[in-house]
Symmetry: C2
Subunit: 172 residues, 2 copies
């Protein structure tokens, strides 16, 4: 069953997301309206130095979390995902990486939102800061690689879970 988008109307536009209603036509001729929360997309980075993994903790007001543990991450800003990843690693944890490896891409919630998230592995870390421009409430935390399973079991964030579980499955 295939479909095509035959119309689209923006209903609301905010700082991070916009809401639009798409008109779609299925190959059986049926037409329907679909509400879509549009988002520019994001990256997340599994970063380790061979002994420790690097994370950030920050308040996430949308979900009522006072201090949520997440991969270094950020929104795409008219650039390739790898460039976003390099910028965010420097801004959020003050590191560059000699080696970058693409892991996977996925839709965070494809039933109603078009956010796509791209994950990378960064190794060969070295000090390299860029000015954080968005959020001074970020705390950098590290965890030993041999505590990976504990971090996974306590993790509450989708991109962080996928990044760590992917690393555990195919790269550790």
């Amino acid at each position: 069953m295939s479909f095509e988008r035959i119309g689209s109307e923006e209903i609301w536009s905010g700082k991070i997301a916009t809401v639009r209603v798409d008109r779609v036509r299925f190959e059986d001729g049926e037409e329907a309206d679909r509400e879509v929360v549009a988002h520019p997309g994001a990256v997340g980075i599994v970063a380790h130095d061979g002994e420790r993994m690097y994370f950030v903790r920050q308040p996430r007001e949308a979900v009522g979390e006072q201090s949520l543990l997440e991969l270094p991450a950020g929104k795409l800003e008219d650039e390739e995902p790898l460039e976003t990843a390099k910028r965010e690693l420097a801004e959020e944890i003050g590191k560059g990486a000699e080696s970058w490896q693409f892991l996977t891409s996925f839709w965070t919630s494809p039933g109603f939102a078009d956010e796509e998230c791209h994950l990378f592995l960064a190794t060969g870390l070295y000090d390299h800061s860029e000015d954080p421009d968005e959020n001074e409430r970020i705390e950098i935390v590290t965890a030993p690689l041999d505590e990976l399973d504990d971090v996974i079991r306590n993790c509450r964030d989708s991109k962080t879970l996928i990044g760590l579980l992917w690393f555990r499955a195919f790269l550790s």
Copy 2:
């Protein structure tokens, strides 16, 4: 750094999600507005019969996917997540399960949306249908358990990736 929500205003209300703007106050006294896409929450089910895993394929108009492979899943409707999971397994793939095990819960995109997703493992499957009430465009597909890694590497949906990677890490 802790915060509290001191106000909230609904800006838009749709069929799946609503958008509100929350006023938050941080413990240093700073106040800010935060846009939140509100969602009722969801469940996903890793279901297998010892030989094959069960999935659904459906068009996902929001992300332009003609036929996205996902775990059986659905939105919470004023019920406990396990009840949603049992209902969705019956509606989507026509199965009940003798054994249910909670896997984990996570935020799909905590930077801007409050959707929480709860994952379960269902085993001891038996035929048990309930009327699907929402989407007749769902196709049931199965994959052998020994092709788990191939399914994971081709997967594009967050809850499905987390469910399969969690199963691979801790239960297979």
